[in-house]
Symmetry: D2
Subunit: 241 residues, 4 copies
């Protein structure tokens, strides 16, 4: 887990893991004694000033290991806003690979249990959990299609190729009023999932996609950026009622 | 605060405040003893079955009093995802009127202090706080432009017509690494705000808008809905570094 | 066909069909002699000034009879821009109902032949053709699935529930290098159509949707409009190569 | 101007300028006699089959010289759809650099007069005009801010850094009912232009942006493409009434 961020005037960032020893970078080194500061500025031995900041969750989060495809931050935000999970919520997660969604939810909720079949992903999950200092994540090297041991779960999140296979397990695990959110990149997956939900005891609330548009503000150059992320995935929100 | 939701087969919802006495609705009444159930079904005296659910935060949240213009859920989600505030965060909020954003953040964070000049809005804030059962909101009938008493704040959120006037107060209140997010519906406001940020000690991280597209799934009628919310506001994210 | 538009100061428009006789409106009447002007202003007998304009194609087009669902102007523009049809192009069209697309293309191209099975739509097509003064439209009360009599066609446009049924006829009708554009509101239709194209001698070029966002400019109120048309249809562009 | 396109089975395209002599490519050469075909297939001397197609306007258009920033096809389509210009329309264009918009409009309209101050762009315009075989374009090496010689113009299109400076000239040039469309990438330009229009004799009709979303259809991989063009420019449509 990173303990400090050092910022040069040109925007360059250095992440410091160990504040018990001097930190070396292209501008020389910063003495360990200086690294204990949580804010303000420090000087390298060559006289360069660097801003020092104690990293926030979001800084550490931006540095976790990621698999080829993760649930992006805009979609994580939508899941939280749609379901209203919070400090007392119990969440079950599956298929998230490196666990970007799982980690973010653990930061906000009481407990997250994540089901992951692949052992290489289990290792990444363990690493990410450790580097974020999250103690409330339980990683199970199990197949969620075969059942969810937890009961009275407030939210189940799925990022799976065949999410409909998890519905029977989810039906039993969710508390009354609890949510199921499935993330899928393609329409036929969503369509099959919505159909399966309609045959289940759960209710289909909505399917949506979230688009994010960033803007440039440089004097009179005020306009959306030319490049835009055109698509990540569709979020399907269901509920036990 | 609502204690139960009753759901008829046709999707109709009834919100029950008092479970100590019988609840009357168009299908007859449900006896108080039945209302104590947290899930399953109850029957009215006329024999109609209703599902009974203990409301989750998001249900109560959907019923709070709202002013003419609030920060919508998609934007609330984006603020949380961009800043990573969580259980230990201290938030200061201003200008949110009825407090939709303030309430959501209080649900997730340690404490929210909200500055609101208008007394009519202070009353609505008090009501909403009560109906959501949130104890960690401090409502101040004060002008945030004149200063923020809190220190080491992790996030300040502004929904103000002249957000640049709050920058000096925010600079002092934020912890190193802390965030300022301003929500504005129009470009000239955003432009003036970004310019003021550039003259301040804060860093402009990004300005973005979030678009949400809902989809229909009815057999082969799989397509985005015809009507779409085309715009709410721009989110400008800044940071103390 | 309308011959003149009269514009009141408040933006109110009156469409004049007959300039051989006086035109009566809520502001009195305008004498026939005055209506012969093609621009400038005219006065009613009560002394009200009205701007007089000779209608352009787009004004007449905005007044044609429309069925429940037509190919909107943004999609018409995309079809023209993608295919580059022009003064010498021969177009075959089917399923357009009231013919909004057919009329626009006839305005630009050499000739449009439109296939329409329903007799009520044939009548509307005749009316619209007449009111726009377009002489280069041939309306056939025939089923395009059964064949296209025209050869060396530059563009075929389809707005049909089962567009794949027209592919064999289109393959024979198109000139080498010619285009087929199919407009469908739902994904499964598009998907089935793309699959059928891949089994045909035609090439799938692209499938796209066009979104249009209108902006408000009122002093500092500079922002996208709140309401937006979220979806009309998908355009699938194919080519004979 | 290209006379033929040769297509290999792998999608590779070769553009042939001269059909009077053999054409050499990586698959050997195609004899001149064969190149006179307008469709079907030809064989190279090494026995490779290539489809032969007579290029359509859109093929030639895709190969014209382009400056750093041009009005893209989606915006060209929107201009045509909004204004309804056609075979009889007279258009004046300015600031288009390499003339992508000017060329497309000339393909559809009676005549386009384009004002271009920079001599290097005038040369590119001449080349593009020639390679597209368009005879109805008049290129004037003049400043449109100083006046438009044409009268009764149906459409003026501007792609200029200070489009408001052209308004007095446009007011005189447009026919009653005629259109002015200005293309600008940034909001402050649009804002200043709309304000100037409001002080002129022209009417502001609308300002809009056009977004295009392309879709992937590969078996069950049916979804929007990840990359999307997030922004080109804003179109402001005005009219003389």
């Amino acid at each position: 887990m990173f303990k400090r961020i050092l910022l040069a005037g040109n925007g360059k960032k250095f992440f410091v893991k160990d504040i018990e020893k001097d930190f070396h970078c292209q501008y020389g080194f910063v003495a360990a004694a200086e690294l204990r500061k949580r804010s303000g500025t420090v000087k390298t031995n060559t006289g360069v000033s660097l801003a020092i900041v104690q990293p926030q969750f979001i800084d550490l989060y931006s540095r976790i290991k990621r698999g080829p495809q993760i649930v992006g931050q805009k979609d994580v935000g939508a899941i939280i806003a749609e379901t209203g999970v919070g400090k007392n919520s119990i969440v079950v997660d599956a298929g998230g690979g490196s666990g970007a969604l799982c980690m973010f939810l653990a930061h906000l909720c009481k407990k997250v249990v994540t089901y992951e079949l692949r052992e290489d992903f289990v290792k990444i999950l363990e690493e990410n959990k450790k580097s974020l200092g999250l103690k409330n994540i339980v990683i199970k090297n199990k197949d969620i299609y075969e059942g969810i041991a937890e009961k009275n779960v407030d939210l189940v999140t799925l990022d799976l190729p065949e999410p409909w296979k998890a519905i029977p397990a989810v039906e039993k695990a969710l508390v009354s009023g609890g949510f199921l959110v499935s993330y899928s990149p393609s329409i036929p997956q969503v369509s099959d999932f919505v159909e399966a939900i309609r045959k289940s005891s759960l209710i289909w609330v909505k399917t949506k996609e979230v688009l994010e548009r960033k803007w440039e503000f440089e004097e009179r150059k005020i306009r959306p950026f030319t490049q835009m992320l055109g698509h990540t995935g569709f979020l399907t929100i269901c509920r036990k009622m």
